[in-house]
């Protein structure tokens, strides 16, 4: 199937793909700084260089580690905790 072949092609060239992704990310941050009009921004920090990039990354990290911390405070239990699996 062509779809599977495409996925496997991308997997075989994973290193190139990852480098391309980094390039896209860099272009996004730089392009945002150079060409995007910040007039619609509502707050001062939104004008900072790479603000939304940092926001996205920090938000992701905070969500992962806060959730894991919360889960290990007795929230995560065995699957048969309620007596069913």
């Amino acid at each position: 199937m062509k779809l599977v072949a495409l996925i496997e092609f991308l997997q075989r060239h994973l290193k190139v793909l990852v480098r391309l992704c980094w390039l896209v990310l860099a272009l996004l941050v730089v392009g945002d700084w150079l060409w995007v009009d910040k007039e619609p921004a509502h707050t001062e920090p939104e004008h900072w260089f790479g603000f939304w990039s940092a926001f996205g990354f920090v938000a992701c990290v905070v969500i992962i580690f806060f959730s894991k911390w919360y889960g290990h405070r007795g929230i995560m239990k065995r699957e048969d905790y309620y007596g069913d699996k």
């Binding site: 599977v4 996004l28 995007v36 992701c60 969500i63």
Partner: protein
């Protein structure tokens, strides 16, 4: 009772269809499964604005058909989703499942077009009592228990809502379903609000949703994810626009769902937690209450019904084909189920508000309304939650089902393949709609209750969104290890009533049973012995005293009776002879004394 005009409610088409469906067989039933929801959809399209279906009942004028822009946008998407869900369920052999699903949709439509609280309540309960069968139809012991919990919670919510309606009627003398006074709130307002937000799955009244939706049938969860919460959002839009507390509750919902999604191992339960998160945006929009925010809430409900339905279709197809829904029992399925992957990914990109996908043009309206109303903290927290949405639904779900470590058993791998044509068709249409809404904004914006003065495709908004989402992806791949699913469950608010129920059972089994046994023993030892003594004394008293008196009296009566009888029964001749002898004797005495 007089019907003011003959008006065909779209719900009636589905209810009649639900009655008819089990009587049909084979190809006819398949055709009906598509045609009847299409008829309901067409009926919605051709509804005239205004008030219809007015019925006088006792002292109340009930309104079944209030048609306006707000009800139409919800009626439109509900019936559209009914078509898609019905196509997705074409392969299901049991017509009861589709019939109860249609009753459930009819309940939702009944609420949407209700003009008064009594009609709303009637259809509100129809939704609860029909939707529970979509959970029970899975027939697992866990599903039966989850369905019972679902029903109990909704019955509780319904009772609170009815109480609020009654108090509201007593205070105002009106049952009209419209905007309530959200500034000067009374007990009735709070009770109606509790009834509504329970169905919107607002914490702490939310735990029924992940508990029940993850236990529903494959097709059942596609229906469930669309109707209950979004009908509640409609009710909130209608009655509670601008209620401040909803902004806070909405933000809490948005983050709460995201946090639990990190911990979740079951793909369908993860999606259920993301319903809470996404409905949080809508609830916050209702709380903001501006025209843009209400438009945003409606637009997001519209988009959400489609992409969440698509996500449940994708993960449902995995469950249907492999029998598994947990990440720890799946993985690497792209080789076996590539189309299910593509459609689920489109759902994931839509919910994550990727540019060109539906969530991008709807979610941003609510966040923009938040910024415009200077609710900066709330708006930033909603942005943070959107990073979490992409983290789980856009990345975690596709990655751990179709890529990642292959945890499939030999049997799971053997069974895995793309689902039947009808499921693929439903997913393809829904995916197409998600992209269509994201690319051609007038389609959705023209349906909204207020005129839209909002342009999502600005360079700033596109750049902002891409940065948040792509750097979230960086975080995902960097911290893949902590995100590895574990075979655990997460305790939630349902713990209180699940363990509370067990506490009651323990109380009945142990202390209450012990007291009952002790009382029984005490009665046997003390009570029974005393009872025997008193019984013997009573028997003696009865035998000797009572019987003696009674028997003696009886004997006396019998003797007197005998004597009387003896007097009465002597022979007549003897009596006459005796009388004649006395008479002769008296005559002789008279003659002797007179000489």
């Amino acid at each position: 009772m007089a019907i003011s005009d003959l008006w065909l409610h779209p719900a009636v088409i589905l209810l009649l269809g639900a009655v008819l469906l089990p009587l049909l067989r084979g190809r006819v039933r398949s055709v009906a499964l598509v045609v009847i929801p299409v008829l309901a959809f067409l009926r919605v399209l051709y509804l005239d604005p205004g008030t219809h279906g007015c019925v006088q009942f006792l002292d109340w004028g009930l309104v079944f058909g209030r048609v306006d822009k707000l009800s139409q946008v919800f009626g439109y998407i509900m019936t559209l989703m009914c078509i898609l869900g019905s196509i997705y369920s074409l392969h299901v052999k049991n017509p009861a499942e589709q019939a109860v699903a249609w009753c459930y949709v009819a309940g939702s439509l009944g609420v949407i077009y209700a003009g008064d609280y009594l009609v709303l309540f009637l259809f509100w309960e129809l939704m609860a009592f029909s939707s529970v069968f979509l959970i029970w139809q899975r027939r697992r012991p866990q599903s039966i228990a989850a369905g019972l919990r679902y029903l109990l919670v909704h019955v509780f919510g319904g009772v609170v809502l009815l109480g609020g309606i009654m108090l509201h009627y007593k205070a105002t003398g009106s049952l009209a379903f419209g905007q309530l006074d959200v500034v000067h709130r009374d007990l009735a307002t709070w009770m109606i609000l509790i009834g509504f937000i329970l169905n919107a799955a607002v914490p702490p009244l939310h735990a029924w949703l992940p508990d029940a939706y993850s236990e529903a049938t494959v097709t059942g969860s596609v229906f469930l994810c669309a109707f209950t919460t979004k009908t509640a959002v409609y009710a909130l839009c209608r009655a509670f626009a601008g209620m401040e507390v909803l902004v806070v509750l909405g933000v809490v919902m948005a983050i709460y769902g995201v946090v639990y999604a990190v911990l979740e191992n079951d793909s369908r339960k993860l999606l259920a937690y993301h319903i809470i998160s996404q409905v949080g945006y809508m609830v916050a929009g209702v709380g903001l209450g501006t025209q843009m925010a209400i438009n945003g809430a409606c637009a997001h409900a519209f988009a959400h019904i489609l992409y969440k339905g698509l996500l449940f279709m994708g993960t449902g197809s995995v469950l249907q084909m492999t029998g598994q829904s947990k990440f720890t029992e799946l993985g690497g399925l792209y080789k076996k189920m590539p189309w299910a992957f593509v459609f689920t990914l489109i759902g994931g990109l839509s919910i994550s508000a990727f540019p060109l996908f539906s969530g991008f043009v709807s979610k941003s309206m609510i966040v923009a309304a938040g910024f415009e109303e200077h609710r900066t903290t709330a708006a930033f927290l909603l942005m943070l939650a959107s990073a979490g949405t992409f983290l789980h639904t856009g990345l975690k779900v596709p990655y751990f089902i179709w890529f990642g470590k292959n945890n499939c058993s030999a049997e799971t791998w053997q069974r895995a393949e793309d689902p039947p044509w009808n499921m693929r068709l439903a997913m393809a249409i829904t995916a197409g709609l998600c992209i269509w809404i994201g690319c051609y904004t007038p389609y959705l914006y023209k349906l909204l209750p207020y005129a839209v003065d909002y342009q999502p495709y600005t360079a700033y908004h596109v750049s902002e969104t891409l940065q948040i989402l792509l750097f979230t992806a960086v975080g995902f791949f960097l911290f893949l290890k902590p995100l590895q699913p574990t075979a655990t469950i997460s305790l939630d608010m349902d713990w209180f009533y699940r363990m509370g129920g067990r506490a009651v059972q323990w109380f009945v089994d142990k202390p209450a049973q012990a007291v009952d046994t002790w009382v029984g023993e005490l009665y046997r030892v003390c009570g029974l012995a005393w009872l025997m003594v008193t019984a013997r004394a009573s028997a003696w008293f009865d035998g000797r005293v009572i019987d003696g008196v009674v028997d003696g009296f009886a004997r006396s009566v019998r003797g007197a009776g005998d004597r009387l009888r003896h007097l009465q029964t002597r022979q007549l001749q003897f009596n006459i002879l005796s009388a004649m002898a006395v008479l002769v004797l008296l005559l002789l005495v008279y003659l002797l004394t007179s000489m």
